[in-house]
Symmetry: C2
Subunit: 264 residues, 2 copies
């Protein structure tokens, strides 16, 4: 199978002109098939504040009422996505910005209300792998915004790490997928205040232990859950690293177990 | 050649839920190849107002400073475009939202400063007709936002009527193009206060006379200039009509001259 590199960029990287420029420059140099997934939460928060819309977060997830949905649709689907696409085009990458609604790339369902009503948040149901593979085979580079749709006319807000994980899983049947989560830290850290405390290899058993010990917490938990799910579903490699290191051997390599590594 | 229907929808239609719903429903029923171009100026004006950004218009064109560019990128590329795409997907139309940056659909150049500095406004230089035709041949329905790019990393604001006209011209080499400008009026009116005063056929000589007599004025002038340019470039048919009448024989049919009509 052909190789496909999926880069997920989030955190402060996409919000700051210099770091984004560097990341896109590095991304443009990745050889072979590639796909970019971006976040944009900080910009959405800023726009909501300017509009007097309250930002409500639960476990790092945004409660998305109708007004907030409009904000994220503007910021993720418009401002962040289109600026990335324009910059990649300038770097010679034939980028195409996509939300889940475009060509039915990612269909989701509005999250059922249990303890918390997340509002217009979508849980991914189906990634249109055949369509993405067809675009990729035509040398198009998809740039996915963290928005999906329910195929009933509604845009839904969906976590970018989840988009990256689900897309990697769906495409793992068609490509040898490397999934790289990059952000402003050097990887998964033993001590969140020490950027040199990167855990070079993280297995599932370690993850569960470190979670219990509160070494791994916050937004890193769903990111790693996505990572392990992706590996379970056949993704070849998951790396969590600094945005300036996407093509280098650094950061944290996530793996199921040592023995499963030998099977590959 | 195959037929292609290009619908440009603007004015209040895209901003009001009911009229947009009706328009998209009618659009979904158009048989054969089709493409939609939308505006969104009123929503951009509203968002700018909420953000305390001054709206400056000259001859119906928006002066686009950096902040305003962000507003139109969010509103046209995000809010309006993605909601239309999601609604069309629900109607069974395989819509794909595109700005000029996406797959280099429309390249423009920043308008040179003469009497007026329009700011980040792009004059169309090249429409990627081959790429659009390839998408259309795969039953994809492009939905174009009024944004272009300069291939140097910058999004530029571009009038939606111009986008529709330039796209029609570029695709006229590959399809028999019908271009329909639809909005909240019944067509080109002799008396702007009387919606029953539609001019059923408008030739270039009439247009020039009616412009001198101030019967045709404002935003209708560039719209008709685009229309005549499109006809000159081989577009088969240009209609200006009410959004509720896009598939009916009504509104204003724009034509070069009676004799040129006979040549077809």
């Amino acid at each position: 199978m052909n190789k496909l590199t999926i880069i997920k960029v989030g955190g402060k990287i996409v919000e700051e002109e210099e770091s984004l420029k560097q990341l896109l420059n590095d991304f443009s140099k990745i050889e072979g098939n590639k796909l970019l997934v971006h976040g944009g939460g900080r910009s959405a928060t800023k726009l909501a504040e300017r509009l007097g819309i309250e930002n409500r977060m639960v476990n790092g997830r945004r409660i998305t009422d109708k007004e907030t949905l409009d904000v994220v649709t503007m910021v993720y689907g418009g401002l962040v996505n289109k600026n990335i696409v324009a910059k990649l085009q300038a770097l010679g990458v034939n980028a195409l910005g996509l939300t889940g609604a475009d060509m039915n790339t990612i269909r989701s369902e509005k999250r059922p209300v249990k303890d918390i009503d997340y509002g217009y948040v979508g849980d991914v149901k189906e990634v249109n792998a055949a369509m993405l593979a067809s675009l990729i085979s035509q040398d198009v580079v998809p740039v996915l915004a963290p928005l999906t749709h329910d195929k009933q006319g509604n845009i839904l807000n969906t976590n970018a790490d989840t988009i990256a994980g689900e897309t990697a899983k769906a495409l793992a049947k068609l490509f040898d997928v490397s999934l790289v989560y990059c952000f402003e830290k050097n990887g998964v850290l033993r001590d969140e205040n020490n950027d040199n405390s990167v855990i070079p290899q993280l297995e599932k058993a370690d993850f569960e232990r470190l979670m219990k010990e509160n070494v791994i917490q916050g937004g890193m938990i769903p990111k790693l859950e996505n990572a392990f799910e992706s590996l379970d579903a056949g993704v070849k490699e998951v790396i969590i690293t600094h945005a300036s290191q996407i093509s280098k051997e650094s950061g944290t390599r996530v793996q199921l177990t040592v023995s499963s590594k030998l099977i590959f």
